[in-house]
Amino acid sequence: MNLLYYQGSIELGIIYAIMALGVFISFRSLNMPDLTVDGSFVLGAAVSAILYTKGHPFLGMPLALVAGCLAGCITALIHTKLKIQPLLSGILTMLALYSVNLRVMGNKPNIPLINKPTVFSIVNDFFVSGFSDLVLSFIILIIVVFVLFLFLKTKLGFVIRATGDNEHMVKALGVNTDFTKTLGLAIANGLVALSGALIAQYQSYSDIGMGVGMVIIGLASVIIGEVLFGARSLFRRLTAVILGAILYRLVIAIALDLGMPPTDLKLISAFIVAVALAMPAVKEYILSFRKRMSSSAGGKGGEA
């Protein structure tokens, strides 16, 4: 057991939680399976990395956010204006982003972020302590959650949440759902890209393949959070997503610590999500199996 090792996982979990919040908005609030995430995460990392090489580690954050928003807008426009299913729209944007990301990174599949100060190393220089990464990522996460929470409680936030809940109603109440979907997907992918931008600086590299399976990791965080911490109020739900993201990282860290080869990571991720998604169905099987057992036992009793 290495405490530092687990601290790193928590830091990663906190940064990935920002991405999970984005996934939460598209999958839960808008009820749209948005696969743009795999691409917009790398887009954020690429923007952050390229600005880093130009000597602007901080500027990379807001610009990555904006780039992610644009990616989300494109998926939303493909879906709302060209009437292509949301799943397919996301895949199309994700595919296109692969080339875009390569271009952003100057046609290099990966960029190492060394020699120059990153956001994390700059902060560490100010507050020399083993916890500076943890504190910085935590502060950023708190700001994001706070702003997101307030936003979802505004009139605009209300109609975005209602769009995923019941689109008919939102239209009947005079709201353009094309607009709410676009705004929602923009925010979702903006958060994902911001998370990617932070990860690139945290890990000191940006890689074209780092977004593969990001949707699943985000979804895993959302589901783990919901199962373990409930989904009653909005505040509770957002907190659950964050805790889910951190927990997911810890589970992976423990698995690695127990000797799982790192190359099996995606396999394990897919497995965790499949199990989490299958929970309700499994519960039903068990319930119906028990009923059948008890009724057949009762029937035998009657015969005797």
């Binding site: 936003f151 409680k153 505004t154 009139k155 605009l156 936030g157 209300f158 109609v159 949440r161 209602a162 809940d165 019941n166 008919h168 109603m169 939102v170 239209k171 009947a172 109440l173 005079g174 709201v175 353009n176 759902t177």
Partner: protein, 262 residues
């Protein structure tokens, strides 16, 4: 005031499934008029309502609300003038949001959606007042999610939401059909009260002939996308379900148990 002028709507034009749902239909509704529509399956009742609310684009004709031509306005734009309650109680409310959040979205209908707090300071008292009219005890459950309510409660809430900002026309598409008889009666009474209070121009589709004649001020029967009977005033008062069935039942396919007994 609602004017429908020579409206036509065909589904699947040019295919073998071509179906003329609305056939040159004209209808004029005055302020405060409450029309009930009856007709067999496929008569075009729901299509008419969907054309008025903009779910379907019409092929021909015009739709005017007061002095505004809404024929080609998108659904969400004309929704500002139209209140709607659907047959399915789940369609009118957002289940994962609280009662007050739902009401708040309805109350902000037609207003710009900015970054102000979703529930304004003055909303609370107003919502409480309106909810207490339902006599369902919902005024004490405003922070609860709508998903926890029964179908009848949700339908009553939808009715309240669709009229909390006075619409130019209220469209009710068999809004009590999915409810049990006692709550259906309650929702119908509530409909009457609200329509009277605001003097609303209302169109209600129903499969229940008795209800069609009892409620409202005018009854229309539709067949094959046309209006075949338009009852008002004394003529309507003298009409009974039996005579309606006698005169129109057999040939119009109206003759099914649900419509007479329902």
């Amino acid at each position: 005031m609602l004017i429908i002028d020579n409206l036509s709507k065909t589904f699947g034009k040019g295919t073998i499934n071509e179906n003329l749902a609305i056939d040159n239909l004209s209808l004029f509704l005055e302020e405060g008029e409450f029309v009930t529509i009856i007709g067999g399956n496929g008569a075009g009742k729901s299509t008419l309502l969907n054309c008025i609310s903009g779910v379907y684009e019409v092929d021909k004709g015009r739709i005017m609300l007061d002095d505004i031509d809404v024929t080609f306005k998108p659904e969400y734009k004309r929704s500002k003038f139209i209140g709607r309650v659907f047959q399915d109680p789940l369609r009118g409310t957002a289940h994962d949001m609280t009662i007050e959040e739902n009401l708040s979205i309805a109350y902000d209908k037609g207003k710009p959606k900015g970054l102000k707090p979703g529930i304004g300071k003055k909303y609370h008292k107003l919502f409480r007042e309106r909810l207490s009219l339902l006599e369902l005890g919902l005024e004490d459950r405003m922070k609860q999610k709508v998903g926890l309510l029964s179908g009848g409660q949700r339908q009553a809430l939808t009715l309240l939401m669709s009229t909390i900002v006075k619409p130019k026309v209220l469209l009710l598409d068999e809004h009590t059909a999915a409810l049990d008889p006692s709550i259906a009666k309650k929702v119908l009474e509530l409909t009457n009260e609200i329509v009277k209070e605001y003097n609303l121009c209302t169109i209600m589709i129903t499969h229940n002939m008795k209800a069609a004649l009892e409620h409202g001020t005018r009854t229309i029967m539709m067949l094959d996308g046309r209006i075949v009977l338009d009852l008002k005033g004394k003529e309507r008062k003298d009409m009974t379900v039996e005579r309606l069935v006698e005169q129109f039942g057999n040939k119009n396919g109206l003759y099914n148990d649900r419509m007479i007994l329902g």
